[in-house]
Symmetry: C2
Subunit: 196 residues, 2 copies
DNA sequence: CATCACTATGTCAGTTCTTACATAGATAAG
DNA sequence: CTTATCTATGTAAGAACTGACATAGTGATG
């Protein structure tokens, strides 16, 4: 084929395979806790929707919209579903690892430990917040035990990854805070009253 | 300032803060296990090095090179070190989460479980391989217990993150394989000999 | 002796993505 | 009554990045 579908295209198809949506709703669904793994701005989603449309992988019906343009409710076509099914089991291409916090960590030896502690505490709070969200969602999905072949199975599987990811991240942040704290006060391990 | 430094610029500075390097060497150091968190192609690194040079954050000396051009050994300037130090403790901007394997997982309910198992087994092998690398590196860095203020502290901290990340990933892949296996053979939990 | 991998720099076309701009109705909060 | 937020679509400039091309010496493998 002349035009290849970018990964975002498949992310869009993955959303549409569950429910017909407007471009705006697709963006929202990708920001939702269970599906927070390929976020994109609405402008990029609109661009890629047009390409999916040209490739015949999606279609749409119109409805009156709030703005000057009509609202377009997109749905996946049979060809789109085929393409998505085929793509799912293809080996993922090696991802470029890009993590700003780890990069900062790599250069952390140059900076002020106290400022670093503050930064990691903020990161820890974020991760703990998301972890709580995921754990609540997990509790309900685990009881349900969704069967393979239903969309809820996909939710559960992605959620499981998010859950253990946030756990690992929070643990690592705590470890960093510990390391940085003991570098501020090297005699922490002596732990006897300072005003004896 | 008119031109902002992209994150890759700081990744380059982080490498140069440890040792003077050619553009080629920077790319290599960013591919190295301990620093696998902001990879980039050499073409992008050359582009950003020129911008860092224009901003006065790096300098270079030349030496005879293998190709038609001279080899340029870059080093970080005092201004570059200042900029890097300042950047390190600034809160990281929210990262766009993009994970192709998790995206495939979200759509996994549409595909063939056997093919998915094969895909996750491959992913598991990759993660276990990197985990073994990281664990070996960790054993040596832990004995050393590098002090804050030395580059080895940065190595240790980044390595720690990579280590627990690969652990979480490998665990998740194993969990996925279990889930998918039991969907293939739903009576696995009965576990009595099939040829009794 | 040929071929391959490694070292080393650079350009260029094209893709992907971000950010800002532009429009506009409904609904809720202050 | 004003302001903000949510719904909803789109354009356009520019940043960031990929992948292919181009050049060329050294050293190792076969």
């Amino acid at each position: 084929m002349s035009s290849t579908i970018p990964t975002l295209g498949f992310a869009i198809l993955s959303v549409l395979a569950r429910a017909d949506s407007t471009g705006y709703e697709i963006a929202g669904r990708m920001r939702n806790p269970v599906a927070r793994f390929w976020t994109a701005s609405h402008s990029q989603i609109h661009t890629d929707l047009r390409r999916l449309l040209e490739a015949g992988l999606v279609g749409y019906t119109t409805a009156p919209g709030p703005g000057p343009q009509e609202k377009k409710i997109y749905s996946i076509t049979a060809e789109g579903l085929d393409a998505l099914r085929k793509w799912v089991t293809e080996p993922p291409r090696p991802q470029p690892e890009r993590d700003e916090l780890v990069l900062k960590t790599y250069a952390a030896w140059l900076a002020d430990p106290a400022a670093l502690i503050a930064m990691f505490r903020t990161a820890l709070r974020d991760h703990e917040g998301r972890l709580a969200e995921y754990e609540a969602a997990w509790a309900s999905v685990e009881k349900e035990a969704p069967a393979f072949g239903t969309p809820r199975f996909g939710n559960m599987a992605a959620l499981r990854c998010g859950l253990t990811y946030e756990r690992h991240r929070a643990d690592w942040c705590r470890w960093m805070i510990d390391q940085l704290s003991s570098s501020l006060n090297p005699s922490w391990d002596a732990s006897y009253p300072s005003e004896a």
